[in-house]
Amino acid sequence: MARITAGVGVSHVPAIGVAMDTGLTDEPYWQPVFAGFEKSRAWIRENKPDVVFLVYNDHCTAFSAAMIPTFALGCAAEFKPADEGWGPRPVPVVKGHQKLASHIAQSVILDEFDLTIMNEMEVDHGLTVPLSIMFGQPKAWPCLVIPLCVNVVQYPAPTGNRCYNLGKAVRRAVDSYEEDLNVVIFGTGGMSHQLQYKRAGLINPEWDKRFLDLLTEDPVKGSQIPHVEYMREAGSEGIEMVMWHVMRGALDADVTEVHRHYHVPASNTAVGHIILENKGNGAKV
């Protein structure tokens, strides 16, 4: 049977991708950011996923203002890295697991989460930067990827509670899939950051730390944080953190925190990262 064994929370700051693509990772500015990912790369080599279920937001790339799905699941055979205005990132094409993706779509829709199904979709830095962070710069990504896009651009994003419960539905879907697969779920975005207007550059490390603590220890409480608190305390773009609750919802109530990394700054943003393992190694709940 397929099983979700672990969750990864990680920022998807575009400048991290640029630093890797242009060979700047040993620069003093970037060195502390990447030092915190060394353990993560060793961990994912040891716990190699067959499939990564990757929760991220599209940044007006696959979706323009013309169409804004709250949740959109990538069911295509492959997803090309998009030109976001600076030319596409020089990273491999992302390959999907079509059968598992459509199984998840069917299962969560019957579970009353009305997803949009994407049979063609380009992917932006929100998806490719987390892969680069965890896998480095391989010629081909070492696993298949199922993308789940969450709208966090136009207010309101789905609530933390909705995201958490969607994670639970994704878990039920994976648990009921017959192929023997190791699935790792990524929640991406954040941590505190504001990219716009006069309050740009806002960083709130105490709030971020509390968010990470809640994620590990009291995820239900974390999932109840209201939108206005993210926007006020963690910056207007800090609302991206609702996506981490999808990841957390798909894990067991009790998890082992095997790694945490936090660093300020990367561009305008606080970089946060956590790896949580299911204590039961993903046995059916």
């Binding site: 205005g85 651009v153 990219l195 716009q196 309050r199 960083i203």
Partner: protein, 131 residues
Amino acid sequence: MTAKKDYDDIPGTYVFDADMSRKGYHLNMFCTSLRQATGREAFKADESGYLDKYPMSAAQKRAVQDRDWNEMLRLGGNIYYTSKLAACDGINFQQLAAMMTGSTQEDYRDMMLKGGRPIEGNRYKSEWEGE
């Protein structure tokens, strides 16, 4: 009628909600068109001719031509869209943020290296009064 919103008192912030999205729709669709190289080249070749293809307000077109980044946000632009225009000009997110805050590039980068803009004093509009 304008309903009170619980995020209205956050200082220095435009929340891109449905009201802003309606206002900025054509501006944001113009910005989206710059995502592709063909759009960027056509815009660079003839800015005002290109802008005329989009039914934006005169004020929105002026803000684009003046690269008045904050005015674009006020008129319904969203940062993820306006950043496509910035990219077309070769400006990255951090450079854009410095411009929107009225800081120099050096001072902004320095602020970020020192831990960013602190939350203390930056939660409520009332804390910004008198500035």
